[in-house]
Symmetry: C2
Subunit: 357 residues, 2 copies
């Protein structure tokens, strides 16, 4: 497959979340990103690591910095409202990091949902926005239900096809219950591209359902694997297409091959599109009744007798919550290779390398 980082194998170093966030913010600022934007990106990446989603955490700092320095990521972005009409708004990301536009758009969707019961915000002219779940979670913390989706450069073949057409196009959904927040955050491809890289690095075979070779045929050879496949065949393909339509077309952003490849195309900005939907349950059953019902539903699911080979039935968001509590206490493990890369960047940019545990 094309160049993209996988999770690394081998030893790791550990750093407290606060220290890591400070360091990442300094690195981004030193690379030219204005302080406010640097703080947003650093906070969102480290929150993602805290939740255990390392594939979308500070692993992305080197490529963000590379694109900032190449002038392909606006270092002084000011997302702005292109149009606001009823409960629907369009935002232009001003070519900055997706996280900056993502927080801006989420907050706008929350405001629209408070005013109208539901709010839709689409974003054009954006870049990689990290983990989709973060935006849904942000709205759910306000007592609201939220969906967020984004498109991305094509890495996934359509069902029955041999060439890449869609991004891994994730869907995130969050809803507040009495005790916690339900958060689903899933790519519409079968597996993340990084898992194939990891298998290649380790010389392992991959399951037949993970990837296809150059001709579009399923392969178990990680070296032959060229493109990712949609979740469960035609269903994941349909979901990926839905995400492409909501995030790219509805926003007037790039779609399929007009989205720039973050890792492999240094000739242009990405023009990624995002979609945010926020609904206020106060307009239907009431926030408290909704949160109570969700708590009952989730409790019932957790009480489902485990199948052979499973210890317990979980719900989406459970593993992330438990990782978050453990990593907030013990720090965030960084693969040694990533720490080394960040340290080299730090030296190059004149930023101090913080102590690790």
């Amino acid at each position: 497959m094309a160049r993209e980082p996988g999770s690394s194998v081998g030893e790791s170093v550990t750093m407290g979340a606060e220290r890591l966030e400070g360091w990442v913010g300094e690195l981004l600022e030193a690379a030219g990103l204005v302080d406010e934007a640097a703080a947003v990106v650093a906070q969102s990446l480290v929150e993602t690591n805290l939740r255990g989603i390392d594939s979308h955490g500070v692993l992305r700092v080197p490529i963000y910095i590379e694109r900032l320095r190449a002038g392909l990521l606006n270092d002084d972005p000011e997302p702005f409202v292109v149009s606001e009409d009823g409960a629907v708004a369009v935002v232009d990301a001003d070519g900055g990091p997706g996280q900056v536009a993502g927080y801006f758009a989420t907050d706008l969707a929350v405001r629209l949902a408070r005013a109208h019961g539901v709010g839709v915000v689409t974003v054009r002219g954006s870049s990689h926005y990290g983990a989709a779940g973060l935006y849904a979670l942000r709205a759910a913390r306000e007592g609201l239900l939220a969906i967020s989706t984004t498109n991305a450069e094509p890495y996934v073949v359509p069902y029955g096809g041999s060439g890449p057409a869609l991004g891994t196009n994730p869907i995130a959904f969050a809803a507040p219950s009495t005790d916690a927040i339900f958060v689903l955050d899933m790519a519409t491809s079968q597996v993340a591209v990084g898992k194939v890289f990891l298998a290649r690095e380790q010389g392992r075979a991959i399951p037949e359902s993970w990837a296809v070779d150059e001709r579009g045929a399923p392969t178990t050879d990680a070296d032959e694997a060229r493109w990712a496949v949609p979740l469960g065949g035609y269903k994941g393909y349909g979901l990926g297409l839905m995400v492409e339509i909501l995030s790219g077309l509805l926003a007037g952003a790039g779609f399929t091959h007009s989205v720039g490849d973050m890792y492999n195309d240094f000739s242009r900005a990405q023009d990624v599109g995002h979609f945010f939907l926020v609904i206020d349950p106060e307009r239907t059953v009431g926030r408290d009744a909704f949160a109570d019902a969700l708590e009952r539903l989730l409790s019932e699911l957790r009480a489902n007798p485990p199948a052979p080979g499973f210890d317990a039935v979980l719900v989406a968001g459970d593993p992330e919550l438990s990782t978050q509590s453990q990593r907030s206490r013990d720090g965030i493990p960084l693969p040694r290779s990533l720490f080394d890369t960040l340290s080299s960047l730090a030296r190059e940019l004149g930023v101090a390398v913080p102590a690790t545990r």
Copy 2:
């Protein structure tokens, strides 16, 4: 698995769509359903057969009639607006067929989307509403984007669990392009329950990923298969849960085991919940620009070089459109066993049995 009809094997009879729709309408009326509601249900079921989705077509007439006669489906339903607040409304289905409430709610969501740019309508107190795609399609015919979801009686185990917790909880999405309408309509379970019944009837083994036995272990023995599994494991489980939350909880309808089993529980009405979201692209990029962009995206996908073993890359809705055109011309094939069941019902209810081809 519990009692539910599968697709039948063997010979079939063919009937023109118009004649079939008339017959089904007469049968439902003879079973007590008021004429307007009977016409809506007959139209939607036959349109579903026309589109080739036989599992959700007139195959359902016998159970609808059984529940009508048992007083578990209101035979004179008048869906009403419980609340309308900004761009969000709650509808009560008045215990009638889901199709009657579904059309009512879709039309309301369309009206809200026209007024506010986006509309959300949730429905409580409903029953099986047939194919989710029909409602999304109805809104897309007005030039709008739409999502529809419904919950259903629990037939699907949570990922890692052994007992049924969620329905097959479908997601439908439709969007208008210049030439046609993109329609995705998919269960969030790996396969429809009917496929397992069909394999059992034919004495065939089933793939390991389709179903679990009583303990929650994957089985390839169709006779041992007890419950369906979520699409692709934890992702489909998460999507099914999202649908349960949007359709059941947000509407104040039944959820998980409080949704009555249409085929096996004659002690109560179902209390199914539905969710409808409609967005007007006129508020973002404009309807024409949106339709043009979608046409370009779909053309690009159809031009993707097929993988080995495939003739062409399709997009969701393509197979249904081609079936619709063929069946509009040649008539709808009905399995002989289903035709016999409908004919017996007709004799019992004093309705004439129409000629077949």
